[in-house]
């Protein structure tokens, strides 16, 4: 523990071992709650569900041991039955929190059972802070592991079980979030143009080519308007082109798009045109005829779009 923690941490550590409680169960161990708990968790062990079998072995209905804490949980409004203590078992956590460790995460929980709980048992529990670790740093951040020990008793004050509950009370690590990918309107994709969109995902701008006469065409379509062949393949564009026309779109403003949004009609050096966003240029400095180079824009939903960046100023 570093020096600057010493005063308040000493205050926190002074509370280790202090006993809080006792807190009483609202209900005695009972068969309806056992049945409901088993149903909710998918437990089918006849020991808990078939009263005769349990009675033959234990002389009473018994509860699944892992229900231990369930019997002493607060009611739906957070209250415990009359007679329960009202002291605050979380003073240690509050001290740590006041000193800059606002986040909390449950780490693990270990239970030990000393006997089966039988129908009619009336439980209570006490708790204490068992330990506070040195300051630790994990992937989540920097803080302290705090272990709480709960002791469970029956109506005769015999200890029937215990639970260690461990928390990490921490200051979150600075999160370096990846910027969210822009969510763009999705294109319609058919068997005809899938190659175009798949090509973009592979960071290639593909131009459809007629297999018969070699004419390039964009946008893609089923037939070659020149020779009527239905056979086609594609070639990869060099990515060099010029701005044939453009618009700077102001309305409607759409999520995932620049505002305002410069869009170009690009004439590729291969001779076909396509519409694509313009990047790296002031919207009042776009010039028809300016040379541009292809880049790829990763968008949400596995969409990649071609965009073009003007080269070396205005044409």
């Amino acid at each position: 523990m570093s020096e600057q923690h010493s005063d308040w941490m000493a205050e926190a550590r002074a509370l280790i071992g202090h006993e809080y409680g006792r807190i009483y169960a609202w209900d005695a161990v009972n068969q309806p709650m056992i049945r409901q708990w088993c149903e909710a968790l998918g437990v089918s062990n006849p020991l808990y569900l078939d009263g005769e079998r349990a009675r033959a072995r234990f002389g009473a209905h018994v509860a699944p041991p892992t229900m231990l804490q369930a019997w002493v949980l607060a009611g739906i409004k957070g209250e415990f039955p009359a007679g329960s203590a009202t002291d605050n078992p979380y003073q240690v956590l509050q001290i740590i929190e006041r000193n800059g460790y606002a986040s909390v995460v449950a780490v693990n929980s270990e239970q030990e059972y000393f006997r089966y709980l039988r129908e009619g048992d009336r439980l209570s529990f006490t708790s204490q802070i068992e330990s506070v670790s040195e300051e630790k740093t994990t992937g989540l951040g920097t803080g302290f592991f705090v272990t709480q020990l709960l002791n469970f008793f029956d109506q005769d004050d015999n200890k029937v079980g215990q639970m260690r509950f461990r928390l990490f009370k921490f200051r979150p690590a600075a999160v370096r979030e990846k910027p969210a990918l822009p969510a763009r309107p999705q294109p319609g994709i058919s068997d005809e143009n899938r190659f175009f969109w798949d090509g973009l995902k592979a960071k290639k701008l593909l131009i459809q080519r007629c297999s018969a006469c070699g004419t390039l065409r964009n946008p893609p379509g089923p037939a070659c308007p020149s020779c009527h062949s239905m056979a086609s393949d594609h070639v990869e564009a060099s990515g060099k082109g010029t701005i044939y026309s453009y618009s700077v779109v102001h309305h409607p403003a759409l999520p995932g798009l620049p505002q305002p949004n410069p869009v170009g009609l690009i004439e590729l050096e291969e001779g076909v045109r396509l519409v694509a966003g313009l990047v790296g240029v002031a919207t009042d400095n776009i010039r028809i005829g300016a040379p541009v180079a292809l880049e790829f824009l990763d968008c949400a939903n596995d969409l990649v779009l071609p965009v073009f960046r003007p080269l070396g100023g205005a044409a």
């Binding site: 763009r184 309107p185 999705q186 294109p187 319609g188 994709i189 058919s190 068997d191 005809e192 143009n193 969109w197 964009n218 946008p219 308007p225 044939y244 026309s245 453009y246 618009s247 700077v248 779109v249 102001h250 309305h251 409607p252 759409l254 798009l257 620049p258 305002p260 949004n261 869009v263 009609l265 076909v272 045109r273 396509l274 519409v275 694509a276 966003g277 919207t283 028809i288 968008c299 969409l303 779009l305």
Partner: protein
């Protein structure tokens, strides 16, 4: 001249008010406009045997027909491509009547485009299915090119770059439209003219388009009644003859994104419509005294003036700078205020204005109108028509 020319006449005109919130259903708007048009024509709704509208209209022919108490509907046809459809139902009606398929065809368009949905919001929230239209939009919408204004902007920027047209030129189109709207009590912008400075100060929508380069979004309905030349003679209204109507889709056409043609500064589909109109009617650009030039966005007014033969290629800017399109000009356009100033009823209100101009009862009546040209949605497969006196 083609045999279809002037064989069919528009004899009834009906419309609802134009607003931002009609406060009633689209089917009611459609029914109101159709009944008003039939009343204007003096034709019993039971005589209607043809109905034509746009593919995007939400009001089925069968239900409009039911609402008007129709008996036997023999002809119904729709035209795709949004506002590009505007004049096509008249072509279809002409053909149906001229061939004896139908006798009384009502053309209608009804929409709560402002209060129920907004085209200006563009393609948002579209499911990424493999249908053609969706795959095609996929080349634009992921880049944020989702709205009609943005699709037009890409073509407009190139046009302005090649021909030196400016934002002020676009502004002069909007100012003239709003000037006409200001004196049209039925226009949404009645009494609200703008200045070129207002235009230049309006915010960007999709550069080079400013807010005041974009038409309104509107609720309303318009309908018109078509009958044969012979039937028209028996009716109370002076017939307005359909001298020509045509549709056009041109090589390498897309829906507002024909960006892959050798040149993207023209509207060759409009040129195709123009050639057919002049051929069918036997008229030429100098024979029309006013025109309704589709103005969902100002930039496409320029190449339309060129495609229809009112200006040379790239020279529409001079036509506009000289004010020839404005009040007092030699070809006043969009005298109702256009879709920029009156309302955006997908071009059908423009056909209505041309009918009024030929009838001689337009609120901003141009003197001596014998023939009026109407164009339809641009950047898409389109249509056009010429109406005129006999």
């Amino acid at each position: 001249m083609n045999s279809l020319s002037s064989q069919v006449a528009i004899v009834g005109l009906g419309a609802t008010e134009f607003s931002k919130d009609s406060g009633r259903t689209e089917i009611r708007l459609a029914t109101e406009a159709v009944l008003a048009a039939l009343a204007d024509a003096g034709i019993d709704p039971a005589e209607v045997d043809g109905l034509c509208t746009y593919s995007v209209d939400n009001n089925p022919e069968r239900e409009v027909f039911r609402q008007i108490g129709g008996k036997e509907l023999k002809f119904f046809a729709r035209t795709p491509e949004g506002g590009g459809a505007a004049c096509a139902p008249f072509l279809h009606g002409m053909m149906a009547i001229a061939t004896g398929v139908a006798n009384v065809v009502v053309v209608y368009r009804a929409m709560n485009e402002r209060s129920w949905y907004r085209f200006g919001a563009g393609m948002q929230g579209k499911e990424a299915d493999p249908f053609f239209e969706t795959t095609n939009f996929g080349y634009y919408i992921p880049h944020g090119l989702v709205s009609p204004a943005s699709w037009v902007a890409m073509s407009a920027q190139r046009y302005m770059h090649e021909f030196g047209a400016t934002s002020e030129d676009l502004g002069r189109i909007a100012v003239a439209a709003r000037d006409f709207a200001a004196t049209n009590p039925k226009a949404f912008f009645y009494g609200k003219p703008i200045t070129l400075e207002d235009h230049q100060n309006s915010r960007w929508i999709a550069e080079p388009l400013r807010l005041l380069d974009c038409c309104q979004e509107s609720d309303g309905a318009v309908a018109m009644v078509l009958v044969s030349r012979e039937y028209a003679k028996k009716l109370k209204q002076t017939p307005v003859f359909l001298k020509a109507a045509a549709q056009g889709t041109y090589e390498d056409q897309q829906m507002m994104t024909s960006y892959y043609r050798g040149s993207i500064t023209g509207l060759p589909e409009a040129g195709l419509v123009a050639r057919q109109l002049w051929q069918m009617s036997g008229l030429s650009p100098k024979d029309v005294q006013t025109a309704v030039i589709y103005d969902h966005f100002t930039p496409f007014v320029l190449p339309q003036l060129e495609e229809y033969g009112f200006a040379g290629r790239g020279e529409a800017k001079y036509f506009i700078r000289e004010g020839r399109h404005a009040r007092g000009g030699d070809l006043p356009i969009n005298t109702h205020g256009g879709q920029l100033g009156e309302a955006y009823i997908h071009g059908m209100n423009g056909v209505a204005e041309a009918v009024r101009q030929v009838r001689g009862d337009a609120v901003n009546q141009v003197k001596g109108v014998k023939n009026a040209l109407v164009t339809a949605g641009t950047g898409v497969p389109t249509s056009g028509l010429i109406v005129g006196q006999d």
